[in-house]
Subunit: 595 residues, 2 copies
């Protein structure tokens, strides 16, 4: 396999030819800014090729490059598909080591809560029968050490390493272990869990891991799980907690094995998640989402012993849960608002995390206002006739032209279903071609001319019209009901969007930026978002993507005590607006249903 | 049964005629000072009889009473044996409610760490979706509440009660529970465990309980248990911990049942014990006592969650372990030094707790110096031919006269053995009658005149001489080897006594007071202590008893945060002297072996 060498990094990246360079770099945890999400339209993903050949620069790329850049070998990484060995130089070197995964991360100072200190211990003698505890306190000039720390260590009388959580000792280790200090940054989504194993000495993410949230066996969505917890008393919450804790332990174990490190050297787990997921993680029954007035048990950050909920790292290691705002605006959104710098920007920025719920935070005039829109699971491919999760075989994009429906399928194989981004792309195309009208209904086949190319895409199933995606196999289609599902989601999100603007008293033209967050959001192209009217056409040029800002926020909190404090502050400044309780919302929602 | 009414107390004490008044009052937790241990020799146990008849005042009593006292009805409680209803008045009323059990307690202000506060909680609404946690913080004007507190309580929106440990909330309870606030004061001895259930609102001990330390199955003494712990690795320390924790839980459960209170309303357990017992209680392997340089793992006080070691009170309740000084001077002795006010007395006071180890603390010239003497178990009736613990059937005192050996037997039945105080009494009599000589050897039977009354008490068992306690049944006796055991114990304690005086540079005449502590010590009469030479004759008039000052100290710490702080200070100021490592100790020890 050909290799890519990145200047300043010791590792050689082996890659399979065919992918674009941006993707190869991201897959290897080297982040390159790409606000347009790798579509070749923003010109931000420049890298310098210092060795290796890539052939001629096409016109599409040239328009983003100055003459001197072309001379120096600068190229747009999203538009080049290398096939042989390359040596490249990233143009934002200083940020490189902070990169955790694909996603934007603002710069920040590394100042983790956890640190280590080497010390020598005083040997006791017959005349000086100093206790082991007192000897440690003397060596470290401390007044006290937790009993939980003391009980974990066999007395020794030589060099030791103290693990500090700020100025408090949380572990004592025999010998010099100052090189081994690790942490975990985790985003717990209702559907997926993503974790990074971080070397807290350097700040580098060593390994990433992700998996399906195993709580799905108790319900695919938050409400079903809450109902399960409520209907089955004590044990149910324990089951939910058990599932997620087990998964975290499994992911931790596997990453530790791969990286050849001891879990005893993991001292902090930083978690961002929605409010319900955090309640379940901590074993707290929470029926707030299901029941007015939607008051959760807690939203403040938590900094507790990880072992107290069964997380299997160092027995005195910490668990940090980022702070949230309300039942519907969790710490994942606070993390996102922080990563997108909503709190210290003078611009009007709208942050949106699209999923089963669409959470929106609007920064304007120095204030942060949030709301949550009940989009439902349709946008993620659920409750859709041929819907599926974004996995191999899922249609993720399409173009309808006169001859055929051109499909982009994950894994480039025969399509077996259609995922969320594919459904939005389909709807965009259906609207563009007029197959679906502004009110969301299919055009009547009988009203089309005999030779209209659209005739072949519409079929009647009884009285119901369907769009046939694949006219050969005829197994994949989109129904009127599917369209209605998407329409409701679109109405929910767009009305939330406008409600926030109205409440804040700013117009759509005054918006400077629209930030799309989340793993799912990062798969929704600008075309699909505005083409389906989920977001208005006017913001098209203002859309950027931040990736999994929930995990990024968890990582930043892990690596900086200052960030933890900032997150607390931001969480407190985000106001929450209950859409259902706001004046004129129903009218607005109805208006927003139209495509 | 006749009754005694104590002025200021609502309860009527029913009693069986025959006991002296002092004993009846002590059995009912009404403490009367009695430095001579109820022997009628100090004149301190005065009470006023306001109603009821007791007959003439004998001469022995009269010499302690002034004319005005006689007129007012004042009597010595240890010398009167009431038979009918009485109304009495104690002469130290202000101390009455602080009394925990029989034993001296200095006055102190009640200011326990644990307190309760009633509050009203804010109801959330659709417009104000305040979390349960934030509503609590707002009500209590706090910045944070531990997650461990939050997770234990189902959200409510009415009145609640916060349980504080100083200024930190450790529990939240629904409704008004301010009347229910309890604690436990416990003395864990190597042999016995004594506990009091205390109403922390009033400071009253509601119930007392005591039991054998079940760790005895792993060894009767500390060293055997340490050996067991060392030889059987991890699980052994857990077993030792398990035994003592189980016993505490059992005693707690039984006292809660009797008093009809919920264990959820017990918020603190205060424990004093020797250093090894505390290590075992906390599940810490401690081989310090068995191995030079005798450095333990910890001596500082511990204030941890009781549930963390399995103690079954309120799940966020605290466990306070009093501070110790060294492996051999534990928190039981620090408690004793505190109760005996060694730290703020200008007098020269010697505090001594006699048991398997004799721990001595000498206060002189504002300094505290301690040592530990390896007395061995003989003084407690162990390793003695006919020895037994102080239980029914044990000889606890005796007088040898020409006609017979007059015995005091516990439970006033046929004797079946001899306990520690009985052995000392026997030795005192044997020395007094010359049956045993100053060097500890029996007098030779053949050297006595034919008609010497002592002839009948000595028998030859092969070549070994024995003292026959009961000349009828001939089943109880004391051997030369038994005498040697006691002699070693006596030598150990007396040499410690002198070593401390020597080191502190004070003479025996400069001693103002000798304080005898401990359950066992309280059964040793002044006669026996000085008559056997365990303590020198010169201190005879200076001896007082403080009872179980270990439990008293635990109680005081439970009821006062100030006491906790004082204990910390005192523990730090007590110097420890390793007898074996001190100059000329062996010579001193040999000298002290002589009776």
């Amino acid at each position: 396999m050909p290799k890519i060498f990145v200047k300043g990094s010791s590792k050689a990246i082996e890659y399979l030819p065919g992918q674009n360079l941006l993707q190869i770099l991201h897959d290897n945890d080297i982040f390159i800014e790409n606000p347009c999400n790798g579509k070749g339209s923003c010109g931000k993903c420049k890298v310098k090729i210092t060795e290796g050949s890539l052939g001629e620069i096409p016109e599409a790329e040239k328009k983003f490059l100055s003459e001197s850049e072309i001379k120096e070998g600068v190229r747009l990484s999203c538009l080049i598909h290398p096939e042989s060995d390359l040596v490249i130089e990233t143009l934002h070197k200083e940020r490189e080591h902070k990169i955790l995964t694909t996603g934007y991360m603002p710069e920040f100072n590394l100042s983790p809560s956890i640190s280590k200190k080497l010390f020598e211990i005083e040997k006791p003698s017959l005349e000086n029968q100093i206790s082991f505890e007192d000897a440690i306190l003397k060596s470290l000039s401390l007044d006290e050490v937790d009993f939980d720390v003391l009980k974990m260590i066999e007395p020794f009388d030589e060099a030791g390493t103290a693990v500090f959580d700020k100025d408090k000792v949380i572990a004592i280790e025999k010998g010099n272990t100052t090189d081994n200090i690790y942490g975990l940054a985790i985003d717990i989504g209702t559907t997926t869990v993503a974790a990074d194993l971080v070397d807290m000495k350097s700040g580098k993410a060593i390994l990433s891991s992700s998996d399906i949230n195993p709580q799905k066996k108790f319900g695919l969505d938050v409400l079903t799980r809450i109902t399960y917890a409520l209907e089955n008393e004590e044990q149910a919450v324990k089951n939910l907690q058990h599932e997620i804790v087990n998964l975290i332990n499994k992911m931790t174990f596997e990453m530790c094995m791969s990286a050849n490190i001891s879990k005893e050297h993991i001292y902090e787990v930083s978690v961002a998640a929605n409010t319900t997921m955090l309640h379940f993680l901590l074993g707290i029954k929470d029926n707030s989402i299901g029941k007015s007035p939607y008051a959760p048990v807690f939203v403040k950050s938590k900094y507790i012993k990880a072992s107290s909920i069964g997380i299997n790292i160092n027995s005195n290691g910490k668990l940090y849960c980022l702070p949230g705002v309300s039942s519907y605006i969790g710490s994942d959104i606070v993390a996102g608002a922080f990563v997108a710098k909503l709190h210290d920007s003078k611009d009007n920025i709208l942050f949106i995390d699209i999923g089963t719920n669409g959470e929106i935070v609007l920064a304007s005039k120095g204030k942060l206002l949030s709301c949550s829109c009940a989009a439902g699971p349709a946008l993620e491919g659920m409750n859709i006739s041929c819907g599926m999760r974004a996995a191999t075989g899922a249609i993720e994009d399409m173009v309808i032209d006169k001859e055929q429906v051109r499909l982009s399928v994950i894994g480039e194989q025969q399509p077996i279903g259609i995922c969320g981004s594919g459904i939005l792309a389909a709807l965009r195309e259906l609207l563009k071609t007029g197959i679906v009208k502004k009110d969301g209904s299919f055009i009547k086949k009988e009203k089309l001319a005999e030779d209209d190319y659209r005739q072949k895409y519409i079929r009647l199933n009884g009285k119901k019209r369907e769009f046939m995606i694949e006219d050969k196999a005829k197994t994949l289609y989109i129904t009127q009901s599917d369209i209605r599902q998407i329409q409701l989601a679109k109405g929910a999100i767009l009305s939330g969007f406008y409600a926030l603007l109205n409440k804040s008293g700013i117009s759509i033209n005054e918006l400077d930026k629209v930030v799309i967050a989340g793993q799912f959001g990062s798969h929704l192209s600008v075309d699909s978002l505005t083409g389906t009217g989920i977001l208005p056409k006017e913001v098209e040029s203002k859309i950027t993507y931040v990736g999994n800002s929930s995990k990024t926020g968890a990582y930043m909190a892990l690596m900086s005590d200052e960030v933890k404090k900032d997150l607390e502050k931001i969480a407190k400044t985000i106001d929450y607006m209950e859409l259902g309780a706001s004046d004129g919302y129903e009218r607005l929602f109805a208006d927003c249903l139209l495509f």
